[in-house]
């Protein structure tokens, strides 16, 4: 259908203005982080760009430690949820057994519940088995919130895998694990990448469970640390901006890597087809 030139111009205008509105706060954060400390109090573009804020924040706050904690927890939980979750998704897409429907329903409903509803009893149960304030405890909790996402993302990819290939493998004498390892995994590699990035971000961005389950300073993650910097130490926006930029750079890189698949992950495979 032909689009009238007026409509076309208006569309471009809307898109450009909207992109500006949605990116401005992020750009402003970056600009603030590179300002000389004295100029942070002024609403203006910086007179010069400097890394002073980054240096100060790394010296005064254990931001490096926060960052490492976040990376370890996110990588650990992603590895577990990706391995166990894709096995489960493979099974749910290929095999028919009595527990199949209940498992699918459970994973879908799990995504809907608020973090605090799970975090509060988990805090108590983890205290009983001495898992509060431990890295494994936090990894386990994050694995649980990643699993529904991994399972639903991978289900979509496994359903696109032709079953003829799997059957051919079985006829040729592969056992069922060999089929997964040699035939299915190479086909769903892009799916594993998508699942991994989404899981990583889910843990990387998580505030509520990290706040509830690991209140010790030793295990503070980036989101908890940055929120505390603001809530406890008040208006050191110069330092906060530098820390926040360090925190979101990995996210931006992953978002760009992921953008082709993002719609699928956002809907949990729900709107597929």
């Amino acid at each position: 259908m032909k689009t009238r030139p007026g409509v076309m111009t208006l569309s471009y205008l809307i898109v450009i203005v909207a992109t500006f509105v949605f990116l401005f706060p992020i750009a402003w954060l970056f600009i603030t982080s590179f300002k000389p400390p004295a100029e942070v109090l002024m609403v203006a573009l910086p007179s010069r760009l400097t890394l002073e804020n980054y240096q100060t924040v790394l010296e005064t706050f254990p931001v490096g430690q926060y960052f490492i904690n976040s990376v370890l927890i996110a990588v650990g939980s992603t590895l577990i949820s990706l391995t166990t979750g894709s096995l489960a998704a493979y099974s749910l897409s290929l095999y028919r057994f009595r527990a199949r429907q209940p498992i699918m329903l459970m994973t879908l409903l799990m995504r809907l519940l608020p973090g605090v509803a799970v975090g509060i009893p988990l805090f108590y149960l983890f205290s009983a088995v001495r898992l509060t304030n431990t890295m494994p405890g936090l990894i386990l909790a994050h694995t649980a919130i990643q699993l529904p996402l991994v399972i639903w993302i991978m289900l979509g990819f496994f359903e696109d895998t032709p079953t003829e290939l799997i059957q051919a493998g079985l006829v040729d004498g592969c056992n069922r694990f060999n089929v997964i390892y040699r035939i299915v995994l190479p086909i769903v590699t892009p799916g594993l990448a998508v699942g991994a990035i989404f899981s990583y971000l889910l843990s990387w961005n998580n505030l509520d469970l990290a706040l509830i389950l690991a209140p010790t300073p030793r295990l503070v993650t980036m989101p908890v640390g940055i929120s505390n910097m603001n809530l406890i130490y008040g208006v050191r926006w110069d330092l906060m901006a530098a820390a926040a930029v360090m925190y979101i750079i990995p996210t931006i890189i992953l978002a760009l890597l992921l953008q082709r698949y993002i719609v699928r992950g956002l809907t949990l495979g729900a709107v597929k087809g």
Partner: protein, 310 residues
């Protein structure tokens, strides 16, 4: 799942060690490989919820578990009559029913604009992917900085444009709640755009060509072709995003901490405070269950809707 025996293995003249080994049916194999994920989900997610259902029926303090005693539905009665809970519920509902329709309207407009343009669509879409991937805690901090009266760019610009006393975005009521809603809208519009754009682009162009031949106006085409074909995507997006907004925690925690004077309290934050500030575990569990039941109902509606489509 019933047939475990493998008649084929008996047929071998000399059963090898491999063939003689116990053979799993496909159903059992399928179930067994879900077990690791299932165990994690059951122990770290489902069991805690069951446990909190139990504690919601008891007087239960985190610090004094020895004083636990059964009180039936008293926690539920107490919480439903609690003014603070009612306010948190009211705020949460306002939050959802103001934010989500606006997000949808802006998202649809923007998706239509993106579907219309011919050059640079991929680039704009990539740029729009970024904001909604950021941690809500960081979104909240960025906006808290911009909302700041002295240091923030928003009030700075308002003063430049001659507004003498620009609003104190996060400390005035009822404005503070709406200031949080603005951040929520900023964070979520891109998600609606991406979902709706995917829906729009999947509508076959033949429909539009046929409409052009029939000479329908742009509005008629939108009303009678685009909207009906987009409807499933719209409903699923609204339901999922509505439930996400209902769980809001991070934005409130960082932006206002529920203040001023708990005027921006929401359900998740109320439950969090009840458990960790007031240390009333039983009451917090009752609150968590009320929220969970509301969300699970929403989830079942969503599933039923998706099944009907399939």
């Amino acid at each position: 799942m019933a047939e475990r025996a493998t008649p084929t293995s008996v047929a071998y003249p000399k059963p090898s060690v491999k063939a003689a080994r116990f053979h799993l049916s496909d159903g059992w194999f399928g179930f067994l490989i879900t077990v690791p994920a299932l165990l994690i989900m059951l122990t770290v997610f489902v069991f805690p919820l069951v446990f909190s259902a139990y504690t919601s029926l008891h007087r239960f303090e985190i610090t004094r578990p020895d004083r636990t005693r059964f009180i039936g539905l008293e926690n539920y009665a107490t919480i439903l009559q609690d003014d603070a809970f009612q306010r948190a519920l009211g705020n949460t509902l306002t939050y959802v029913f103001v934010a989500v329709p606006i997000e949808f309207a802006i998202g649809l407009g923007l998706a239509l604009a993106l579907a219309t343009i011919t050059r640079g669509r991929g680039m704009f879409r990539t740029l729009l992917v970024i904001p909604q991937m950021l941690a809500p805690a960081v979104m909240a901090l960025m906006w808290k900085f911009m909302y700041n009266d002295e240091l923030g760019i928003i009030n700075h610009l308002l003063r430049e444009f001659g507004v003498n006393r620009p609003p104190l975005w996060l400390t005035e009521t009822p404005l503070a709640l709406f200031s949080i809603i603005i951040v929520e809208i900023w964070a979520t519009v891109p998600i609606f755009v991406l979902l709706l754009l995917a829906g729009l682009l999947s509508i076959p162009s033949e429909y539009y060509e046929a409409a052009a031949i029939d000479g329908g106006s742009a509005w008629t085409v939108f009303r009678h072709i685009t909207l009906p074909l987009l409807q499933p995507v719209i409903l699923v997006a609204l339901l999922i995003r509505g439930m996400d907004a209902f769980r809001v925690f991070d934005l409130v925690y960082v932006l206002t901490g529920g203040g001023p004077a708990l005027r921006t309290d929401v359900l998740s934050y109320y439950i969090f405070r009840t458990a960790f500030t007031d240390r009333d575990f039983g009451l917090a569990s009752a609150g968590a269950w009320i929220v969970s039941i509301i969300l699970l109902t929403g989830g079942l509606i969503l599933i039923r809707f998706m099944r009907r489509r399939a």
